[in-house]
């Protein structure tokens, strides 16, 4: 029987959740025994090679590329998991939701005290994805099956959740793994 496949992505976040995933230490070897990685920064596969069992999303959606990416994950993944506070709530990037987008961009490219922008242009290259009106948590864009809070969720939390998902067991994490104070 083929090993289950997993895919991961970091959207609008800090990559900290992926770092936390690496924090499972030597268990990463065990993980590679258990699963095959498809599209993921961990193995640097850029496009899905086919359907995937579990998709893991770090970060919320701040631009059109995030949305495209997330929607692709929804299409390819049987189970989709939001991990970390950015994916589940918008997190730190969503602080900009309190300021209108136009004001944000003006501050970044024109008015900020350290801005050097002699041409006075707003960056508009097509390689730069357009920003959304605000930062959205993932479940507002696509249906999400599981949420793992934490900034970042500890390695043990990720490990336990993954093992449960991959072995078709209910994801019932002990309180100690989802308590953050």
């Amino acid at each position: 029987m083929a090993k289950p496949k997993i895919a991961t992505a970091a959207l609008s976040g800090c990559f900290g959740c992926h770092m936390s995933l690496l924090d499972i230490d030597e268990r990463i070897l065990q993980l590679f025994e258990l699963v095959d990685f498809d599209k993921s920064p961990i193995d640097d596969i850029k496009e899905f090679t086919g359907p995937v069992d579990v998709g893991i999303i770090e970060g919320g959606c701040c631009n059109e590329e995030n949305v495209e990416n997330l929607r692709k994950f929804r299409q390819y993944c049987k189970v989709l998991v939001s991990i970390g506070d950015c994916a589940t709530t918008g997190g730190v990037p969503s602080l900009r939701n309190m300021v209108p987008l136009e004001e944000c961009l003006r501050e970044a490219y024109f008015d900020g005290p350290s801005v050097y922008n002699p041409s006075g242009e707003m960056p508009s290259d097509e390689a730069l994805p357009l920003l959304l009106d605000k930062v959205y948590p993932c479940h507002e864009i696509v249906k999400i099956d599981y949420h793992l809070p934490g900034c970042p969720p500890p390695a043990d939390t990720l490990w336990e959740a993954l093992v449960a998902l991959l072995s078709d067991k209910p994801v019932e994490l002990p309180y100690s793994l989802i308590k953050y104070d």
Binding site: M122, L131, L132, D133, I141
Partner: protein, 605 residues
């Protein structure tokens, strides 16, 4: 200018002996004289009463009838509760707005007339209705709204708008209101002949403990909706330690669709005050406070007069009815437009001159209430029942009703029925029977218990109105076949979002979220899982909120989700691709496209 404002404030504050707990009255008086509370006056009030300015400002910002901004000499407050909406409020609103040339929330350029919405003013049986300053105008139409504005422009005197007087005491020289009582069914208890002084006399001839025993034997439960046994409340308060004790009558009838206290106060004020006096005797209090909602300010002068007469006749004051050592007096505390003040601890806060924030319980008011003294808070109707119990004996009271819900209950019936008004019925009556009396047999839904109550579907019309089944403070709102259930629920959520005091997050934020999610479903952007989420969020708000407001505000959604599930299900659809229908990429990129000056590669490719 400032000199005179200072004089005004000083005079007003000293008329209340610089008592900080009378801040509501001070602010009201300044408001009456200046038309608003100018910001400099806040500082002055604070100094006179020895409190900080923010305490004054926060109180003013809390109550909807107070403002720190100049407003028109005449303020039109159009009632926007659901029943008024159903009886044509929109047309009336348009007429007011067009004739005045302003929108809601605005004041005419000459500064004479302001226009705004207000939640239920207790006139659901004769809506659309509005308050024009203190004057109530009922049965409005677009024509009468236009006439009102034209007349006001001539004389700016709302009292001259009243062309015909209502029935009963509404025509009393001290009331002079066009309000009608609409008493449709008089029961044996509340609307029977009143023998002024008899109940009190009988009470004073037995011991306070015996009075409490009579109330307990009668199995009287609170008529405000919660149904707490009145005798037990009195017993606790009597037993509590305190140098002083207080009796409060809750006449802050703000639950949408309730108007029975309005009628009791109009027709049976002596019974209300006698009930308070008996309560005072029973628990050992010397002071009573009637907390009257601002919307009923048109009754204030009349009620003050009734109190004055009772003082003159020895029914209040020193040695009441010759009973040596029993002194009791009553004052009226005006509210200022805050639904949450109907909650007893919020009501106490308000009487203490604070924002109407609920307090933590325990301690319960029976132990630590008004100004820290043991206090009972009873509904207007409960106190009326007390007089009957003393007059005719407990047995005559509980021979009607059921074992656990004794006596009769006043119902305020409004909405899609032929005979809206007040009905005194024995508790335990079937809802269908009530609907038949009111001419509402073809109802598709009935909201029992006001906005915080529950929506009942036709298959449940055989349920019983009593504390253990369909509990209500009196409000019964009937909806006919032409009504949209989700719109009704949405109106209730608007109400709760507006009336949440904001103290605790589950209620302040939770109600906003509930409304948002409901809107999503109403727009057809929901999916089946959203219904479960909605239900879950309702439970969170109910469980985590600090007071009755948030603990009951999800009820309209919860009860319709339960009894009218197909209405919701018809609005949601399973998304096969797993994308959220509420998210529109094109829309969320519109701002960016405009600022950056190019189109999205993703949306337009």
């Amino acid at each position: 200018m400032n000199e005179t404002l200072q004089d005004t404030v000083t005079r007003i504050c000293s008329s209340f002996s610089g008592d900080r707990s009378r801040l509501m009255d001070v602010v009201q008086a300044v408001h009456d004289e200046c038309g608003h509370v100018p910001r400099p006056a806040m500082e002055m009030i604070a100094q006179e009463l020895g409190i900080s300015r923010v305490e004054v400002e926060s109180l003013i910002s809390f109550y909807s009838f107070y403002t720190d901004q100049p407003q028109g000499q005449v303020v039109i407050r159009l009632c926007n509760d659901i029943v008024d909406r159903m009886s044509g409020m929109d047309r009336v609103a348009q007429a007011f707005s067009a004739e005045l040339g302003i929108g809601f929330g605005q004041t005419t350029p000459d500064g004479t007339i302001s226009l705004m919405y207000t939640p239920c003013i207790g006139m659901s049986d004769q809506g659309p209705a509005a308050l024009i300053n203190d004057v109530v105008v009922t049965n409005l139409s677009s024509d009468s709204a236009r006439e009102i504005v034209q007349e006001l422009k001539l004389h700016l005197d709302p009292t001259r708008l009243i062309k015909h007087l209502g029935d009963g005491n509404n025509a009393h020289e001290l009331i002079q209101a066009m309000v009608n009582n609409n008493i449709r069914l008089k029961g044996d208890m509340l609307f029977s002949v009143i023998n002024r002084g008899e109940a009190l006399n009988k009470a004073l001839n037995i011991s306070p403990m015996e009075v409490i025993r009579a109330v307990k034997t009668a199995r009287l439960r609170g008529r405000g909706g919660a149904g707490f046994p009145a005798g037990m409340k009195w017993e606790y308060t009597r037993a509590a330690k305190g140098d002083k004790k207080y009796v409060m009558c809750n006449a802050d009838e703000g639950e949408p669709g309730t108007f029975k206290d309005r009628v009791l106060l109009t027709e049976l004020p002596d019974r209300v005050f006698a009930g308070m006096t008996i309560a005072g005797y029973a628990i050992g209090a010397e002071e009573g406070i009637l907390y009257l909602r601002q919307e009923y300010a048109y009754l204030k002068e009349f009620l003050e007069n009734v109190l004055q007469k009772r003082r003159g006749d020895g029914l209040l004051g020193q040695n009441v009815m010759g009973k040596e050592g029993f002194n009791f007096n009553i004052r009226i505390q005006m509210g200022a437009g805050a639904y949450v003040c109907g909650e007893e601890t919020a009501l106490i806060s308000s009487c203490e001159g604070l924002r109407g924030d609920p307090k933590n319980r325990p301690p319960f008011p029976a132990q630590k209430g008004y100004l820290g003294y043991p206090t009972i808070v009873n509904n207007v109707e409960t106190l009326c029942c007390v007089t009957k119990i003393l007059e005719l004996g407990p047995a005559s009271f509980n021979e009607q009703g059921t074992e656990r819900s004794a006596g009769t209950k006043l119902l305020s019936i409004s909405g899609d029925c032929k005979l809206p008004g007040i009905y005194e019925v024995p508790l335990g009556i079937e809802l269908s029977e009530v609907l038949k009396m009111a001419g509402a047999e073809d109802a598709i839904a009935v909201q029992v218990g006001g906005a915080s109550g529950q929506m009942v579907a036709p298959e449940d019309f055989n349920r019983h109105i009593c504390f253990d089944d369909l509990s209500t403070g009196g409000s019964i709102m009937v909806f006919g076949a032409q009504r949209n259930i989700l719109e009704i629920v949405h109106t209730f959520m608007d109400f709760f979002v507006e009336e949440s005091c904001g103290y605790c997050t589950p209620c302040r934020v939770g109600n906003q979220l509930l409304r948002q999610r409901l809107e999503l479903i109403m727009e057809g952007k929901g999916e089946p899982a959203d219904l479960e989420n909605l239900e879950e969020l309702c439970q969170t708000v109910k469980t985590c909120s600090r007071c009755g407001l948030g603990q009951t505000s999800p009820n309209p959604i919860l009860s319709t989700l339960k009894h009218f599930r197909p209405v919701y299900e018809a609005m949601v659809q399973e998304e096969k691709d797993g994308f959220q229908p509420a998210f529109d990429l094109r829309e969320s990129l519109a701002v960016s496209e405009r600022i950056i000056g190019r189109q999205s590669v993703h949306v337009h490719s």
